[in-house]
């Protein structure tokens, strides 16, 4: 492939494989003085590509060229030495140190390790001025700033070092409009000085404003690179979704009641959400769950899906709206303040972060499964009925095909798929009416995933109301009867899973990230 003389960075046939291939033969070119946007749906490979360029991951195949020379960064340090820097979505700041100390962290003191506050402050002012942040007091601790300002300080920190290539991953998610203007002015200045910028964003309006070219990734393949000016959202969604196809129930392995089109009429309402919201996460969600139905929730990562499930379950409480339940004839307004209350009302949640928030990793399978059910598994005086626990757990583990030595085996010795099954078994044992699944297929091998999908369908067939959040469109469509899409914290569409196309879902996912229909900005910004 010919590399133009203005090319700053070029990748050639870049491959990356984790468990499955995530990048396939990517030829990507970034010019000097160019802002190049990278777009794609969840898991398309944007982050992986950037992580390879920034030295965090190493490619499985293919090569990279920087300014025409071979570029093989083995670490972030290597990449930085070559002038390649990335601003991550997660902030990399020390909250209790001052802005100045954060900005100059690599060279805080002189050779003896003594810090000179005057020079430190002067260097910090210089770095801040570059982003028109002159009004910030460099002595202020970073923790005193709002998230938006912190994000700008992070960018200033990166730009305080010499940069040839800058990668920005969703830099505007926490910024207010004037802050975005400031950032774009700076990006313009970088462009003038010949720096190349890779810009990941979901926000079409921003990309049209700031980017020169747009590259679209789909399933690890770079499908198109086009001039940003000529691109509209329809064309973009079309590129991200791929060739139009009506969804065929995936692999035929998930037993749907009867073929594609004839879905049984939904059962009675199991839960109703009214104007449900949580500040900074999602707002104004109106929704009904039905018995015997799997409701899928799609949307981009960060759209508020996990937050919605957690609020439903009382793990974090909602702060506006309420939910209504059939138990009291929908007459009362509920808002759960703890998972305990939600469970008492018949709602369970299989969490996304199963190691951090789901399992007791060093404890036995039996202990993990029985944990929530113990109040019913004792003799009345609080003495645990281990016989009943063993019987129940053996039965569940057999049903779910949990591969195990014995029930006494610690769950950290199990594979990801078996761990997920154990976590699901905890909720099956409780036999609740409504079960919420957050990314049930994440970190799970293909066979376990299939079994889990079957199980989710079986739950619905037994009359439960099931909700599934998934970032994999295929899984979402295979599992669901009905799909809703969250976009920037708002309900952006509701579809029949049998007739919806991937393109419909993507268009809805991006809906409230576009200008003019500005969704609720995360209200984490505290200072104006």
């Amino acid at each position: 492939m010919h590399t133009p003389p203005s090319a700053l960075l070029a990748t050639r046939g870049l491959d990356k494989q984790f468990a499955a291939p995530v990048l396939r033969g990517v030829d990507f070119t970034l010019n000097r003085g160019e802002i190049h946007a990278l777009m794609g749906s969840n898991g398309a490979g944007k982050s992986t590509l950037c992580n390879i360029i920034a030295g965090i991951h190493q490619p499985s195949g293919g090569s990279l060229l920087l300014e025409g020379g071979r570029y093989q960064p083995a670490s972030i340090r290597d990449a930085e030495a070559a002038g390649v820097r990335m601003v991550m979505q997660e902030l990399n700041l020390f909250p209790n140190l001052s802005i100045a100390e954060n900005l100059c962290f690599r060279q805080l003191g002189n050779r003896a390790g003594i810090i000179n506050r005057h020079t430190l402050r002067a260097r910090a002012r210089e770095a801040l001025a570059r982003l028109q942040l002159d009004d910030l007091d460099p002595d202020l601790p970073v923790a005193a700033l709002g998230v938006g300002k912190q994000q700008l300080v992070e960018i200033a920190r990166v730009l305080a070092q010499p940069v040839k290539l800058l990668i920005l991953d969703e830099p505007t998610a926490a910024l207010t409009d004037p802050q975005i203007d400031q950032l774009f002015l700076q990006l313009d200045a970088l462009r003038q000085s010949g720096v190349g910028v890779i810009y990941i964003s979901h926000r079409m309006s921003e990309i049209q404003r700031v980017a020169d070219r747009v590259s679209v990734l789909r399933d690890g393949v770079l499908v198109a690179t086009e001039t940003a000016r000529d691109l509209d959202i329809d064309r973009l969604v079309h590129l991200m979704a791929g060739p139009a196809m009506v969804h065929v129930p995936a692999t035929g392995a998930t037993p749907r009641p009867s073929g594609a089109k004839s879905r049984p009429p939904p059962g009675a309402v199991a839960l109703r959400l009214e104007a449900f919201g949580r500040r900074g996460a999602f707002s104004d969600i109106n929704l009904e769950l039905h018995r015997g139905e799997v409701l899928g929730i799609g949307g981009l990562i960060g759209a508020g899906r996990t937050e919605l499930l957690r609020a439903l379950f009382g793990a974090d409480s909602a702060d506006s709206g309420w939910l209504r339940l059939p138990a009291d004839g929908f007459s009362h307004r509920h808002r759960f303040r703890s998972p305990r209350q939600a469970i008492a009302a018949g709602i369970g949640l299989v969490v996304e972060d199963r190691k951090g928030q789901g399992l007791l990793l060093d404890k036995s399978i039996a202990m993990n499964i029985s944990l929530g059910k113990l109040p019913q598994l004792h003799n009345g005086l609080g003495v645990v009925d281990d016989t009943a626990i063993t019987r129940n757990c053996e039965q569940l583990c057999d049903t779910l095909e949990v591969k195990r030595d014995s029930l006494a085996q610690a769950v950290n010795q199990l594979s990801g798929g078996n761990q997920q099954k154990v976590l699901i078994a905890r909720w099956l044992l409780q036999d609740l009416d409504i079960v919420l699944f957050d990314e049930p297929g994440r970190g799970v091998d293909a066979r376990a995933k299939l079994r889990i999908q079957q199980l989710i369908r079986e739950l619905a067939a037994r009359g439960k109301a099931v909700v599934v959040v998934s970032s994999e469109t295929e899984e979402l469509l295979a599992l669901s009867d009905r799909v809703i899409v969250l976009s920037n914290g708002r309900l952006a569409g509701e579809f029949d899973a049998n007739t919806v196309t991937e393109e419909d879902l993507l268009a809805a996912s991006f809906r409230y990230y576009s200008q003019g229909q500005q969704g609720r900005r995360p209200a984490v910004e505290t200072s104006p």
Partner: protein
């Protein structure tokens, strides 16, 4: 059966290790001092251990839920002071005074536990505050005077006719047995392990974590009060300066017994063995004529050695248990 469900509870060989250490200590001191293996030594031990034993039981539970309780020494002094003052100044009968003392301990523990759990303040800080408050309370109720109670409480610590052991020792052993049962066989025990192992997972499973954590601290306070009753029976005086540093002895005994400071793992029986090891060492070293400073230096070194051993025993045991085909192969 319970062992198949809960591998977290020490396998017997872990207890056996501690028993072995204990036997080696007894043999060593017996060979070095002709007075060690005698009725006098064992009577002294039997008198000394009940207090530390019950306090170590409470500390085991607190460490199990990944907390710490620094206040038990002061709370014990306060509860003993309450009991002493009620019996001398107010002429309360023994059992009423014991009840008042136990309630005081329960209230202190419940207060620390509730504040710490409800507002998510580290228990280290809250119980440090309680340590000061309870000590102040002990001075306040006694007017900073030591109360002499005499024979009125003596029978708690005196050997029962025919049995040769005191009610205090019997009660302490009963507490150990009951607490071990609670830990291994009851819902409350499982909840403590779950909270100590992963508190957020426990909360998301529907546990009322605040309530259970507060209950654990309340129990630790109650057991501190019981320790105070035993000490009153042994010394027959209520001293507002009693129990200074006792919380650290209790933590040492529990840690020697292999309970993890990061929570989720522990055993009451092993804590009791830890108490015995410390007590035997103290008595034996004294009989060898080793000075108080020397005793403390040796005891300190033994605590660190025990924890070191425990740290490296775990990965070793896991490697041994995994050394089987298939087990954990998918990891």
């Amino acid at each position: 059966m319970s062992r198949t469900i809960l591998p977290a509870i020490r396998l017997p060989w872990n207890s056996l290790g501690l028993v072995a250490v204990l036997l080696i200590l007894v043999l060593f001191f017996s060979s070095q001092s002709e007075y060690f293996f005698s009725g006098v030594t064992f009577r002294t031990l039997a008198n000394q251990i009940p207090t530390l034993t019950v306090i170590a039981v409470g500390t085991t539970f607190v460490l199990l839920i990944a907390g710490i309780d620094l206040s038990v020494g002061s709370v014990m002094a306060l509860c003993a002071a309450v009991m002493g003052v009620l019996m001398t100044d107010a002429d309360w009968p023994l059992f009423a005074a014991i009840a008042a003392s136990l309630l005081t301990g329960l209230a202190c523990g419940a207060a620390s536990g509730f504040v710490s759990a409800r507002w998510a303040i580290p228990s280290f800080v809250v119980t440090l505050g309680m340590l000061e408050m309870a000590r102040g309370g002990a001075y306040l109720v006694t007017d900073s005077q030591t109360r002499y109670l005499g024979a009125a409480v003596g029978r708690i610590g005196e050997p029962l006719a025919g049995l040769g052991v005191s009610p205090a020792l019997l009660a302490a052993l009963a507490v150990v047995a009951l607490a071990q049962f609670v830990l291994v066989r009851t819902v409350f025990g499982r909840y403590m392990i779950a909270i100590g192992s992963n508190e957020e997972a426990a909360r998301l499973s529907g546990l009322h974590t605040v309530r259970w954590k507060a209950l654990v601290f309340a129990l630790a306070g109650l057991l501190a009060a019981l320790g105070g009753v035993f000490q009153l029976g042994y010394l027959q005086t209520a001293d507002p300066n009693a129990g200074i540093g006792l919380e650290l002895s209790a933590i040492a005994a529990v840690v020697i017994g292999g309970t993890s400071l990061s929570g989720g793992r522990g055993s009451v029986i092993n804590s009791f063995l830890g108490v015995l090891i410390i007590a035997v060492m103290q008595t034996g070293l004294a009989q060898l004529g080793i000075s108080e400073p020397g005793k403390r230096i040796i005891t300190g070194a033994v605590i660190v050695a025990a924890v070191l051993f425990d740290q490296y025993r775990e990965p070793l045991a896991r490697r041994l248990s995994r050394w089987r085909p298939d087990a954990g192969a998918e990891q």
